[in-house]
Amino acid sequence: MKFTKDWLSDHLSTSKSEKQIIEKLNGIGLEVEKVEPVKNELSDFIVAKIIKANKHPNADRLKLCDVDIGTKETIKVVCGAPNAQDGLLTIYAPPGSTIPKNGMKLEVSKIRGETSYGMLCSEAELKLSNESEGIIALSQKYSGSIGETYFKNKNDNNVIELSVTPNRPDCLGVRGIARDLYACGYGNLKEIKKIKFNKKSKHNLKIKIEKNKNQACSIFGSCLIKNISNKESPSWLKERILALGLRPISAVVDITNYVMFDLNRPLHAYDLDKIKNSITVRNSKKGEILKALDNKTYTLKENMCVISDDEGALGLGGIIGGVRSGTELDTKNILIESAYFDPSITRKTSKELEINSDAKFRFERGIDPQSVKEGLEMAAKLITEICGGEVSNFDIQETQKFRKKIIKFKSNLVSKTIGIKINDKDIIKILTRLGFETKKKNKLIEIKVPTWRPDIFGEIDLVEEVIRILGFDNINSIEPEKIRIKPTLNFYQKHFHLAQRSVASKGYYETITWSFSDDKTNDKFKEGSETIKIINPISSELSVLRNSLYPNLIYYMEKNLNRGFTDQSLFEIGPVFTGKKPGDQITVICGVRKKQYDDQNNFGEKNINVFDIKKDLIQSLIELGLERDEMLIEDISPSYYHPGISGTISSKNEKSLLAYFGQIHPKIINETFGFEIFLDNLVQFKQSNKKINKSLVLSDFQKSERDFAFLISKNINAQQLVDAIKNTDTSMIKKINIFDVYEGENIPSDKKSIALKVTIQSDVKTLNDNELKDISNRIIKSVEEHTGAQLRS
């Protein structure tokens, strides 16, 4: 919404400055977005400087000038003036501007093969004098104004642009803004004078609102004005239209626009002579066609509100008029429409047809239904003043009465909500000034809501009105109390927090990637999960909710690889989606590592292998509170891992899935390792297996170490071997350390040799040779039984 202080003065007599007004508007919820000088018809013409006047390559008498117009780069303008020379300050007309002398609209054009962006002007061209010899030479005092408009407004008027929240349609008119300022004590609201017409002619056009289901129109007011002479608007009106950023068209059109911005009352003017017989406001039939004033042709769907005559649709109610009944400069007789259209139906129609207009913008937010007559009056007055003509009586068709809402207001709600005491007198004063009718009834105030405030439903809305006008600055800030009734983080959240920093401390950089992913890449990782499509994705590459964190991480890892980062560790902690219902999601921590060395240049570093990632993973799991002994590691994993170089970690108890790890399948990406921790499972496992803090027991009895080497089938995991040993005597076997794995010569091809060191120690005594021998024998027996392995001699 745009206006000027000058325009505001039509409604508000105030001594406040523009600056004070702007500050106040911000303070009462009418956010000032922009303040800039009013545009006039000559605003386009700006001060410019010729940096270099080069010879035109193809014409002796022309020059090709590099011109500084205040932008970053200079532009090229072809100029024939003899005085065009280096360093000249002059006036530049950009493409799109109209030269006052001849009404010629400038375009980017080629002059003798060279492109010219706009024109440098002579005094005659700008109607400043008759001097047409050469371009304007400005004095040096303009050297600081390059890029600024030459024709500044004398009265220094600014356009103030508000960003009006959707609940305040009343402030889409200058009157509404004035009313809010009046409520703040910023001047007096001027009354709108009653207008009397000599209604010479009779309204003789038949008008009807059809009873349709979901009929958007409930009031249709109109008047005829005959024998006008439509013309260019007078300068005061043009100025206001320009201030709105609109183009003046003709007095009739400009007046309808003016009233819309003045009173927030959209109107529409029809050429009466082009209306066939009568007007019916009805729902459209499927396939009806309307050529609208935006020069587009719309094919209507069923049940859109149209204003029609006997021939067909004249316009879309509350949205846009049609070309067929549009007014022209030679229009003699007109019909002015002032109507009420339902916000949500109007919105739906304009959305379906993708039409935006100032009228639609207002009707979908809610126009004052009681402003129908006021709008007609003001328009008729202005039209007759400027264009002459005779006004008919007003015809008002009405299918619904709009009554003022009544709210019973317990005024202490104000103090209760804002924390400071406001007395009834002040409350009533504010509300009255905003147009509410108030009546004290016992402890209540009975409030009648003005029809221009569709946003007021209940008491709390009135509280907001009061505090808004009083100013939020008046609320006393209450220092927060430093009391905690509940822990900040719950058990799960603590683990989330720890997991994030635990993985980061292993050298991984945390990333945050989209929760959505590319359909095809996601498919490689989704295993059995359901694909969750977004029906209106932002792009086809982000069309599904991710079933895994890998797709995005690998995508970005490859991008970094292309940037030259051959050694990368990335991770993300975030949601993975398992279904399309709320809550169908789990939290996964996924890390990826890649290291590509160029052989010559590795300074003793080795390429990473699966044990590097396993080390990171296991250490993080330990930091998250699991014990190494609680982890069951198996060589099974999802299909996106290398089948031979990957595994699963679950809890020995309950077999709860904690993590996957391994090399990513080489068909997806080569030489890359990764892991996934399933945080929800982990936390759940910990919650149901809470540990009791054991006190430390130290054994000072002698410990013994025994080495074993077993020949074992390749199909058997080292873990199984270790378990078989450990289970022999869990209390005395303190440590099992694999120190060699051998396959190859001297060993059958289906076997491998595993050598381990077992640490044996009793907590109660020093073991003698016989006892140690006995344990060793039991170990060998257990291993043979459980794994089929043989002790190597």
Binding site: N26, G27, G29, T165, N167, R168, P343, K351, K416, T417, I418, G419, I460, R468, F472, N476, S477, I478, P480, E481, K482, R484, I485, K486, T488, N490, Q493, Q500, R501, S505, G507, Y509, E510, T511, I512, T513, W514, S515, F516, K533, I534, I535, N536, P537, I538, L545, Y556, M557, K559, N560, R563, Q568, S569, G574, P575, F577, K581, P582, D584, Q585
Partner: protein, 355 residues
Amino acid sequence: MSEFEKKILEFKEKIKVVKNLPELNKINSEIFGKNGIINLEFKKLGSLSPDERKNFAASINSSKKELTEFFSKKSTEILDKEIIEKVNKEKIDITLPEKDFKIGKVHPVSQVIDEISCIFSEIGFSVEEGPDVENEYNNFTALNTPENHPAKDMHDTFYLDQDMKTLLRTHTSPVQVRTMLKGSPPFKIIAPGRTYRSDSDQTHTPMFHQLEGLHIDKDINMGHLKGCLNYFIKEFFEVEKIKMRFRPSHFPFTEPSAEVDIGYRIENNKIIIGEGDKWLEILGCGMVHPNVLKNCKLDPNKFQGFAFGIGIDRLAMLKYGINDLRSFFECDYRWLNHYGFDPLDVPTNYRGLSR
């Protein structure tokens, strides 16, 4: 002087001139070995009378002790000499590069979430969460959003079904609804999380982060709201004073509603928060609308309170001088390295939020 004593003196002289450990060890066994002079001398004990025995043994022992000390002194001398010789030969170019120490980084958004949680923890807020996929009711209807509100458009919200019943939450406010529906007042929570809107340009990304705040009790009013936000902003930007203004605004789920601006100025191309005469909008807030309370099964005559919503990414940008929102999600290694935080930098109340 006995034979034994003579030998002792001889050995002493021998030890004095020994040059290396093997020689020393040889002498060692000659003295202390099985057939060394000490042992041989002890063997004589058997032929002596008990009276003589005592004195004789004492004298051997004292000689043994003397020799042992003499011996270990020499041994240390030789060892030290050898080490010094060896060390003098060893020389490494220590200006060669050290091995990389791999410490990772925590994303600035995560760091800022921890900072925020730390600040609100101090004044008694706890952290709540909600799902990224929401139903239309929790995201819009329960929050008093009118049926035809533009935010519900396909242009603005990502939907998972044609009926527009399931969607990606457009704000963290549905966590308010979930929290109130599952518990009983008082409620004092913050809810950070991912939010989604169908928007992608210079300053918008289809996914971003928001922080929701909610405090409901019997008498929580706008003064508390002001105090709470004032405290938060001051703590977050780690400044003594903060310039703040509340501007009335409009949100369906709060009434009265306000937007909060903070004062700033630009100095040497850097933004200074808390002073200056420019204003920067940083959050939206208000008193929870009675309709929202009703939808959450609370009686608005008995309970009231405030809610606020803050863009986390934007806070991170302001505090840490990050210019481009889109860069948060582009995972550029250089960016992560530059703007990421050391995992040991855990924001705490007692040590402070940032280094």
